[in-house]
């Protein structure tokens, strides 16, 4: 039995043929291609989940300034937001806070799990850990979520791009959003088709998102983009679970996203030469010399 697949169609065929969720096909593929046991995969998944959890918690409880000095304390501030001002419900509120937190951990040289990249590392842990904390979700379901997300990330990496320099933020936060949306659907008992529909909608909703980091740093607007990536995953998953979508198969959507990414001008692909990166106010705030000085004094 060959458990490898090249795209979403082949993945869905395997799921249907064997009556398995996406996570199980992905585990079988990993066991086969990596020549590893199910237990060793589970151990590595658990290690990733632990690191993700620390990356969230640390920034909330013990905030530090980022390398470039543009971030620090946002997740903690969200944690202390007055309850009367919380408009999202605890799951999405928690996801927004956690996404901010991982971005802070990343920007201050803490340990994170790239998922699929360091710049977009907040989306997936924020989404699946907040669901785990706020809903009746087992540890095994949480693991399944992470594995499911890796299958979607693999399909995008293989057939499209997860590089901001190549295809904009839609390739980073957009991909993370698609991965997290699919993970949520499986964690909530949805079908493999619904998982792929959620991923497709997630990509389409962030289609065209540019990569425009201020001063070229993974700080602003990356942090808040992680937050919208997390919320976007809930939106796409909720739509897919209700069988509301856009009827564009995931494979087509991955190609469309890649094509749009390559059509973006270079100024909007991680070069810090366009978008938010050239906002006059923020440029004045963080002149090159001031930023370099902050980085030198870091720690």
């Amino acid at each position: 039995m060959n458990w490898d697949f090249k795209n979403a169609k082949e993945l869905l065929d395997l799921c249907q043929e064997h009556n398995m969720p996406i996570s199980e096909v992905m585990i079988k593929r990993e066991m086969q291609l990596g020549e590893v046991s199910r237990e060793s995969i589970r151990d590595r998944v658990d290690k990733c989940l632990r690191i993700m959890n620390v990356a969230v918690d640390k920034a909330i409880s013990d905030p530090v300034k980022s390398m470039g000095g543009l971030l620090g304390g946002e997740a903690n501030k969200m944690r202390h937001l007055d309850e009367s001002k919380r408009i999202c419900g605890s799951t999405i509120y928690g996801a927004i806070m956690s996404a901010l937190a991982v971005a802070e951990t990343n920007a201050s040289m803490g340990v994170i799990v790239a998922a699929p990249t360091a710049g977009s590392a907040g989306v997936l842990p924020a989404v699946i850990l907040s669901l785990y904390e706020n809903e009746d979700i087992s540890m095994d379901t949480l693991r399944r979520g992470l594995v499911n997300a890796s299958a979607i990330g693999y399909i995008i990496t293989r057939n499209g791009s997860v590089s901001g320099a190549e295809a904009g933020c839609q390739a980073e936060v957009g991909s993370a959003c698609a991965m997290a949306a699919s993970a949520l659907v499986e964690m909530m008992g949805g079908t493999p088709e619904q998982c792929c529909n959620a991923a497709s909608v997630a990509l389409s909703n962030l289609l065209g998102l540019v990569c425009d980091p201020v001063r070229g740093l993974v700080e602003v607007p990356c942090q808040t983009r992680n937050a919208i990536g997390a919320v976007g995953a809930y939106t796409a998953a909720q739509l897919a679970l209700a069988d509301i979508g856009i009827n564009i198969p995931l494979d087509e959507m991955v190609q469309i996203t890649f094509d749009v990414g390559r059509a973006l001008p270079e100024s909007l692909r991680e070069t810090a030469k366009g978008g938010c990166a050239i906002a006059p106010t923020i440029c004045a705030m963080c002149s090159k010399e001031a930023a370099l000085d902050k980085a030198r004094k870091f720690m």
Binding site: G34, G68, V111, L124, A165, L292
Partner: protein, 224 residues
Amino acid sequence: MSNTYIGMFDIIGPVMVGPSSSHTSGAATIAWMARQIYTGTPNSVKYTLYGSFADTYLGHGTDRALIGGMLGYKPDDIRIRKAYEHARKEGIRVEFETDRETDTGHPNTVDILMNNEIGHELLIRGVSVGGGRVRIRRINDIDVDFTGEYSTLLIGHLDKTGTIAFITNLLAEHKVNIATLRLFREAKGKNAFTVIETDSFIPEDLKEAILQHESVSSVDLIEI
């Protein structure tokens, strides 16, 4: 040893010290590979940064990652944050230089020049190609190209007839399967590097056996 398919933990990973897979994680990996290629312990290291590395290295902790990798720290090692301090303690002098003029063909390029008290000097050029993946592109004056994603044997030798046959025979005897083999040389009959990427574990005594050949000057095993 890494795998050559895109696996679960290539997507959910690497586990790394932030903030950037290319500017932090990749930088640490390049330096770690350079350290494995250098024989002995360097006491001074000079890094020349090009392109985007030159522009944004401080804000990405690229400098700390490059020092950390030289000290043997993997990309997820939190000691990277205090790499300057650790290098000082280990008696390794570090120096950074930026070069915004030279076009090296890739935006994230670094030259690492290592030296020790007896004047053993070695230059490694590495590029960080995204997602933490890297390539070594130059050793001293010789252009090379390898990734470290396989177990890699790097053999320095004179470009003389029969050297490769000697090496590949030894690999066969040790039941090491070759995935790729490439020869990079200065000029015919001059200094050369043979890079052998293998599918299996490389035993330590194989290194010693290859070193017995009169044309072979160095054998390094690189694993990331």
